[in-house]
């Protein structure tokens, strides 16, 4: 069973807080806070995806914006075709757009997964700095493609005029949409938790610690890493689809390397490899943006300073700082 450690109590507290905030916001009639909480949940979901690759597998992907953006564009493109009643393509068979979230999610997950499979086949042959730079470069490639391809708005992005539908739920109600995002987030955290403890998770963590050892027992580190990378991308892609629905807008900025950096920040601020780290990290990020963004338009400067201090002096992130452990085992 799950033991009642300091970290588990903290995790429960974090999840409860995120869940309660929108209800309080509704009670005090401040719907903007519901949107903030939804952003936290979606950013955290993107981070949960990266955390699988980065935290458990030690794969420092600097290109997860690619998957976040692909998920977003999957949502945007499907919805815009559905609204214009134009098929997406007709050869060899006709495929139409849709405004059903469940189908959109499925497409977002598949597209991100396929992209990760392709990118992973190249990048996972390398390690260290090469891996970081190559993932970054592939994400930039997609970014420039999105900018220069005019069919879906190019540099200006693509608006989604109606929020997509979810069976039995009024998705236009901010609280309902938050609850959808929150549930997806919790399911993703659960999935990563289960994976972590499985045979696959054992091999993945061993690959991070010592891939020579993993090979010597007869397990191919490459296959393990590629699988983790693909699943990781799928989760982040799903977050992108939700983000598109939240904003009802997608733009090439979702692909930019700042986005990759920010997803990484969510993971780091909370604590690398910790199941709830990305939620804490995303919440801190949004809170920081909200508080300092209200005081000065140069809040990113302070974000940079905080990040620098965390990296230099508080390894293990906030959860590590509170529980006093550098890394969660």
């Amino acid at each position: 069973m799950v033991k009642l450690t300091k970290e588990n109590s903290l995790n429960a507290l974090v999840a409860m807080t995120l869940l309660v905030v929108p209800f309080i916001a509704l009670a005090i009639d401040e719907p903007f806070y519901i949107t903030l909480a939804t952003r936290v949940a979606i950013f955290a979901l993107a981070g949960v995806g990266l955390n699988l690759a980065l935290g458990l597998g030690g794969l420092v992907s600097f290109g997860h914006a690619a998957f976040f953006g692909l998920g977003g564009y999957a949502a945007g493109i499907l919805a815009s075709h559905a609204l214009n009643y134009e098929p997406i393509f007709t050869v060899p068979f006709e495929v139409n757009g849709t405004t059903e979230m469940l189908i959109i999610w499925l497409v977002a997950i598949l597209v991100s997964g396929l992209a990760a499979l392709f990118i992973g086949l190249f990048s996972l042959r390398t390690t260290g700095v090469y891996f970081i730079m190559i993932t970054l470069a592939f994400a930039q490639m997609i970014y420039y493609f999105a900018i220069s391809w005019p069919a879906y708005g190019g540099e200006d992005g693509l608006s989604i005029y109606v929020r997509n539908k979810f069976p039995g739920v009024n998705t236009l109600d901010p609280l309902s949409f938050f609850l959808i995002a929150f549930c997806v987030l919790m399911l993703a955290v659960l999935l990563v938790f289960v994976l972590k403890n499985s045979r696959f998770g054992a091999a993945l963590q061993a690959a991070r610690q010592n891939d020579e050892r993993l090979s010597a027992v007869g397990i191919h580190p490459f296959n393990i890493r590629l699988t983790a990378f693909v699943v990781s991308a799928m989760i982040t892609g799903l977050a992108g689809a939700l983000y598109a629905d939240l904003n009802r807008f997608v733009s090439p900025n979702m692909f930019s390397w700042h986005t990759s950096g920010e997803i990484m920040i969510f993971v780091i601020l909370g604590g690398v490899g910790r199941m709830f780290g990305p939620i804490v990290g995303a919440a801190l990020f949004i809170l920081f943006e909200f508080v300092f963004g209200g005081l000065t338009e140069h809040w990113m400067l302070f974000l940079g300073l905080v990040l620098l201090v965390v990296v230099l002096f508080a390894r293990g992130g906030l959860i590590g700082f509170i529980t006093g452990k550098v890394r969660h085992e």
Binding site: V60, F122, Y130, A137, W149, L301, L307
Partner: protein, 306 residues
């Protein structure tokens, strides 16, 4: 398509490659000697451009601005190395990426705070303005030609520095064996600061030179930084020679791709569509080049360490 246009584009590609080399040289040197991945290298490029534009607009002399760009970038580099970077040498790459990403945020927002969001403009110096007639009757921008020449001279100078001087010997020793060089009594901390400041100066210099043909604005270093990463991945991280070859390759492939691919697609598509397909593909061309190189040479064209 005329051959004059073709040669002009080829020269533009070469000029772009030379700029990329100035950026990539510092990156690859810092990685080769100190094992550090520095995302904030683009920020130093921006510092150089802002310093040059400010001083040139204030004094009216581009040349003073150019000198200021080198001094400002080297100083900023040295300070950053002393305060932040030297704490990162023994850290893993993840920490290096995050800390230098944080530096980008600090530099970008700091610069925006001081200079505002509007771009500054920097004029090409009178001495180098206007076109020049090349053999074969081709008109080409004198300033761009000068950049190619200056970049070539810097590459030569860098080669000389590393191959022939005491500092260069120490840098090469630092690449192959850190303990040994420390045992030889070389002040390794000072050496690292010098190498970092040297890389910064090259980046700042590049920023100033480009500032006169593009606008000087916050964030200008970032696209160049990522291209410089592609360059050193192609060339082999840590190799100056690889950086030079990679930079020229990337500069020419990118420029010629943008020029030729839309024309190519016009052969069998209507113009508007050909332009969009061509330019979209052109924007991806160097990444495809990188992927191809990595298939055959996973450590780049000139692997630096064994």
């Amino acid at each position: 398509m005329t051959s004059a246009l073709f040669i002009e584009q080829l020269l533009n590609g070469l000029q772009f490659g030379v700029m990329l080399f100035l950026m990539a040289a510092g990156l690859t040197l810092v990685f080769g000697v100190m094992g550090l991945i520095n995302l904030a290298h683009g920020a130093l490029y921006m510092v150089g451009a802002f310093a040059c534009a400010t001083v040139a607009n204030f004094t009216g002399s581009f040349w003073l601005g150019l000198a200021a760009s080198i001094v400002a970038a080297a100083t900023a580099g040295a300070i950053v190395e002393l305060v932040v970077i030297r704490r990162l040498y023994k850290r893993d790459h993840l920490d290096q990426v995050l800390a230098t990403f944080a530096l980008i945020l600090i530099f970008s927002e700091g610069t925006r705070w001081v200079f505002g969001s509007f771009p500054l403009y920097l004029n090409v110096p009178d001495l180098l303005s206007g076109p020049v007639m090349l053999p074969g009757g081709i008109q080409y921008s004198l300033y761009r030609l000068a950049i190619i020449v200056i970049g070539g001279l810097v590459a030569l100078g860098l080669y000389f520095l590393i191959a022939k001087t005491r500092l260069g010997i120490r840098i090469r020793a630092g690449e192959s064996d850190r303990e040994m060089i420390a045992a030889l009594g070389v002040d390794i901390r000072l050496l690292y600061t010098i190498v970092f400041a040297l890389g910064a100066a090259l980046a700042g210099f590049a920023g100033a030179l480009v500032g006169a043909i593009q606008s000087v604005q916050v964030g200008m270093g970032e696209p160049v930084l990522i291209l410089a990463f592609v360059v050193i991945v192609i060339g082999g991280i840590g190799s100056i020679k690889g950086a030079l070859v990679g930079a020229i390759l990337v500069g020419i492939v990118d420029t010629m791709g943008r020029f030729l691919l839309p024309m190519f697609f016009q052969l069998f598509m209507e113009n508007a569509q050909a332009n969009s397909v061509g330019s979209a593909l052109a924007s991806m061309s160097i990444y495809i080049l990188m992927a191809l190189v990595l298939i055959f040479k996973p450590k780049g064209l000139f692997p630096a360490h064994g």
